[in-house]
Amino acid sequence: MESNIKMHTKNLDFFYGNFQALHTVSIEFTQNQVTALIGPSGCGKSTYLRCLNRMNDLISGIRVEGQAMLDNIDIYDPSIDVVTLRRRVGMVFQKPNPFPKSIFENIAYGLKVNGVKDKAKITEIVEKSLKQAAIWEEVKDRMNDSSLGLSGGQQQRLCIARALAVDPEVLLMDEPASALDPIATQKIEELITELSSKLTIIIVTHNMQQAARISDRTAFFYMGKLIEVNDTDTLFTKPGLKQTEDYITGRFG
């Protein structure tokens, strides 16, 4: 199996003003694999995720040191176009956030903004994305209805379809199922497994069983530091550090 590193960080430090939220985090993300980031609340895993598509840039007073690379190019290099980066590295958020537009317009938005003008092409990609997100059957007859009429689980799959429409190479998911019921969660998890054959997926989750179910590799964060990263099976059955073992067995967090 060809082991291609799609994204990696090397000694990544992150500061909110004077407070250091991430300490020298180095992780490699293999192409077409699912990597889960786990750890107790406030350990920095979401902050780390948002570094990978530079969403943290929207907050004032932040500082990044170290390297974050996409295909061996530093994404924090001043010459990098952030707009293109965010198209290549997509994001799905914890709480579904569809635009207050029709289902069709939600998916078409990313395409239009990135320059796709041909109506036929847009319609084609919209359908393909909704199929990829396993929601096409449920919405194909109400494409012009408002997205806000969908259930929570459906809205989240809509957001996934929306992210897929712009053809990203990496998909960042920030606790995508934490606000959903168990059945919707299961659907999302199946979706992730299916998508990983074409995309590199990095998912933050506070649900360890979920991490064990769907990820190939898992990284354990604590207090802004990377404690351990390994193949998921290994991390959960034979953790290398006591701290990891304590967290996994529920002794804290």
Binding site: D81, V83, T84, N114, G115
Partner: protein
Amino acid sequence: MIKKRVFIQNTWFSIFKIAVLINGAALAVILFFIVSRGWRAISWEFLTQAPRDSMTAGGILPCIVGTVSLCLVTILVALPIGVASAIYLNEYATQGKLVRVIRLGINNLAGVPSIVFGLFGLAFFCIVLKMGVSVAAGGLTLGLMTLPVIIGASEEALKSVPNTYREASLAMGATKWQTIRKVVLPVAFPGIITGSILGISRAAGETAPIMYTGAVFFTPDLPTSIMDEVMALPYHIYVLATAGTHIEATRHLQYGTALVLIVLVLGMNLAAIILRSKMRKKLRI
């Protein structure tokens, strides 16, 4: 393609910045003219003496006194009614038709043109209530006009009091009114005062509501009762500039009066803001 999108963004953002600069420039120009042409008229005599020689010399003391008296009546009228209305809306009222009607009343009262307030004041206070042209009539008219402002500011101040304070008080067995009186109002006090001062500063600068209800071009004596007619700063500017007998000759005095009015209004705004931050520090909000 990206370059084009970023170029479009930068162009538009520059246009936005120009818009902001236009606003700032307009304000600067107005202030510049008023200050540069008005400061020469300011002197101790100007502020403490009455006008002489058909207004071409002397001072504007009666105008200052008149404006202050009008403001006093305004606040006496608008503050209690305004705060009480806000208390009802925020502390007692439940969602329903009645509340919507009351709010509609307040919002539309806020939108009534100042000259219509003047007409009403004339017809109702001066004539029906037989107050004539007086501080009382003018102040009541201004008070009506200022009411929505005070209600709005008070409501905001009341809303910002955390609900946990109310709950803690009620949980100790206090009644709703006791809670409002002893817990909510003291905390909301800075916001209410700030809003009131801002409302008064607006009332001080208004001309149309007092043109026919309280202000006159000239009265020889300072007011001794609220039934007296008065001179007022904004009205003075207007009359000197448009209908006075020596428009050009009094131009510098017009600028001077305008400057005094601006200083008064801005001074009140500044006082309100400082007062609020000081009080907030005391209450540690």
